[in-house]
């Protein structure tokens, strides 16, 4: 090892922060409408586009990307499996199912109410997954997330059944495919909640690391294992619910970002959480920029781009890992 791990760890958050900053500036410049940045203060039209569309979109991307990456990081710790994330534990599908339920039963519900219901469903759906894998003796690295994906498929099937009957299949597909093109001022602010929850996760980072070391380890140092578990899953469920409700699911993000970051920096949550959050934001910024540029002036939804890149990275990780950490 030429460069020591500690110096990499010290530099990583700053490098990631610089990347996010540069990408955010690029993101703000890209768009169909012409914005004259030199005349931002004198030209009201440019200013309006900047403040009401470009800036909110960039904020939304950063918040959603960082919060989802943090949610994935916490989930892989608590499940003690590196491939457990909102998209492989049924969390996303359960959140969408909750959103569908509230849309059918009480279509007029305010957005915070919808998020609340989606969060409850996401939490229940994930808790069922955790309960399931705790009963399974065969804790294989790949088998566990497969159980989650199958469970997510069951949630999705239930959702589709009711969506079909209520003519909501199209709405459902919007939730399942993240897209920032509709983001304007007044339509993304709920994402600050996800960002806030991610900050809260940082405060309790030591709990999640301890819980990830096992129930006995956590108990020995006086950390309440059940509380850490419940708190961590609530954070992950809330973040997922907010993102699915506001912009739609961004597949694989919560899976690949924590994996790549922890591969380089280790598993001490307090140390890796800021870098994970920033890398999550950076990845979504890149994918959103790609989505906006490839068929300009049209757009490809960010969910498609992240999904494409993410599934390729996921496959690579699985093929690499199953050799070395087969029993993890």
């Amino acid at each position: 090892m030429a460069i020591s791990r500690t110096s990499v760890a010290a530099a990583a958050p700053w490098v990631a922060a610089a990347a996010v900053l540069i990408l955010a500036v690029v993101s703000v410049f890209i768009g169909v409408a012409h914005v004259d940045f030199s005349a931002l203060w004198s030209d009201p039209e440019s200013r309006q586009i900047f403040l009401q569309s470009r800036l909110p979109r960039t904020f939304a991307i950063i918040l959603a990307g960082s919060a989802l990456a943090v949610a994935g990081l916490i989930m892989q710790h608590l499940a003690r499996n590196r491939f457990v994330a909102p998209s492989t534990a049924g969390t996303v599908d359960a959140a969408a199912l909750g959103l569908l339920a509230v849309t059918i039963v009480a279509p007029g519900t305010a957005v915070m109410g919808k998020i609340f219901v989606a969060c409850i469903f996401a939490l229940a759906g994930t808790a069922l997954f955790i309960a399931l894998i705790q009963r399974v003796q065969f804790k294989d690295l790949v088998f566990v997330p497969l159980v989650g994906i199958v469970l997510g498929g069951v949630y999705a099937a239930i959702g589709e059944f009711f969506a079909y009957r209520t003519n909501l299949t199209q709405t459902m597909s919007v939730w399942m495919n993240g897209d920032f093109s509709g983001i304007i001022q007044g339509r993304y602010e709920t994402l600050w909640l996800a960002g806030g929850v991610a900050v809260l996760a940082y405060v309790f980072a030591n709990w999640f690391t301890a819980a990830g070391m096992g129930r006995d380890f956590a108990t020995n140092i006086g950390v309440n294992f059940r509380l850490a578990m419940a708190g961590g899953l609530t954070i992950a469920a809330l973040v997922t619910a907010v993102v699915v409700t506001t912009v739609g699911a961004i597949p694989f993000l919560g899976l690949i970002v924590p994996n790549i970051v922890t591969m380089m920096l280790g598993d001490n949550l307090r140390r890796v959480l800021p870098t994970t959050a920033l890398m999550g934001a950076a990845l979504v910024l890149v994918c959103d920029i790609i989505g906006r540029v490839v068929i300009f002036p049209y757009e490809i939804a960010v969910g498609v781009i992240v999904g494409t890149i993410g599934s390729a990275v996921f496959l690579t990780l699985i093929l690499r890992r199953s050799n070395r950490y087969a029993t993890a």
Partner: protein, 252 residues
């Protein structure tokens, strides 16, 4: 002093620990021996509140381990168990720093840093400080966990089968380290051992269990005897004195 009063645990009619009452001393090395299924590990898990009891009370210096706040108990006793799949990639230093959690809640004070440095030094881990624990050998990793417990700075240190998977070099090294902790730091070490001879050579007191009951309890001179061991394990032993130690042979 740890006081165990009428501790009982059973799984579906099968009594694993049967109404055990004991007092564990506040210094020295105490070993729990007995055949598989005797209830040693279950007893240790209950004493360290990792496992709830069906009945009975455990108190550490007057603190009820089941009722008192867990972080208060964590300042008085620590428990090390063999966790089969700890795959977390944290460094030796990060692991040892977790031992300070009951004292500092993650914000390490200068006192904590001093305790961590001393623990690393004491367990001969200075060269391995920044190595991830999953890259260490079994013996090194075991020492790292002991260093964590040392940093936790509890009077009582409980270890469940700490010699598992260690070769004789590392097993003896670990037993010497634990003995030093008892002699130099005045700690009370309570451990579950399968090797009766390690128990004989390093313990001040040996508690032998069988079928959930304590059947023998005393210094090695009274427990490492042909009669007592035969009674505990239901097989034949011949006990020899070698260089002042009592060694039990049971290979034929």
């Amino acid at each position: 002093m740890i006081t165990i009063d009428s501790l009982t645990k059973s799984y579906d009619e099968h009594v694993v620990v049967n109404d055990v009452s004991l007092q564990l001393p506040d210094s020295g090395v105490t070993s729990l021996i007995g055949p598989n299924g005797a209830g040693k590990s279950t007893l240790l898990s209950m004493v360290s509140r990792i496992l709830g009891a069906d009945a009975g009370v455990v108190s550490v210096e007057g603190l009820d381990v089941f009722k008192a706040p867990s972080k208060d108990v964590a300042k008085k006793l620590s428990i090390l168990r063999q966790d089969a799949h700890t795959t977390a990639r944290i460094t030796v230093r990060e692991l040892v720093e977790f031992g300070r959690y009951p004292h500092s809640h993650g914000r390490l004070t200068p006192e904590c840093h001093a305790a961590v440095a001393e623990a690393l030094e004491y367990c001969d881990l200075v060269d391995l400080t920044d190595r991830p624990i999953h890259q260490l050998s079994g013996g090194q990793r075991q020492r790292a966990y002991v260093a964590m417990v040392l940093a936790q700075d509890t009077r009582y240190v409980l270890l469940d089968e700490p010699l598992n998977n260690l070769d004789m070099v590392h097993a003896t090294g670990l037993m010497q380290l634990l003995r030093r902790l008892a002699d130099e730091k005045g700690k009370s070490i309570v451990l579950v051992l399968h090797d009766v001879n390690y128990a004989s050579v390093y313990s001040d007191r040996i508690i032998a269990m069988r079928d959930g009951d304590v059947v023998h309890d005393g210094p090695p001179e009274t427990v490492i005897t042909e009669g007592a061991l035969g009674d505990v394990y239901d097989m034949e032993f011949s006990v020899h004195t070698l260089g002042g130690d009592r060694i039990a042979a049971y290979f034929r």
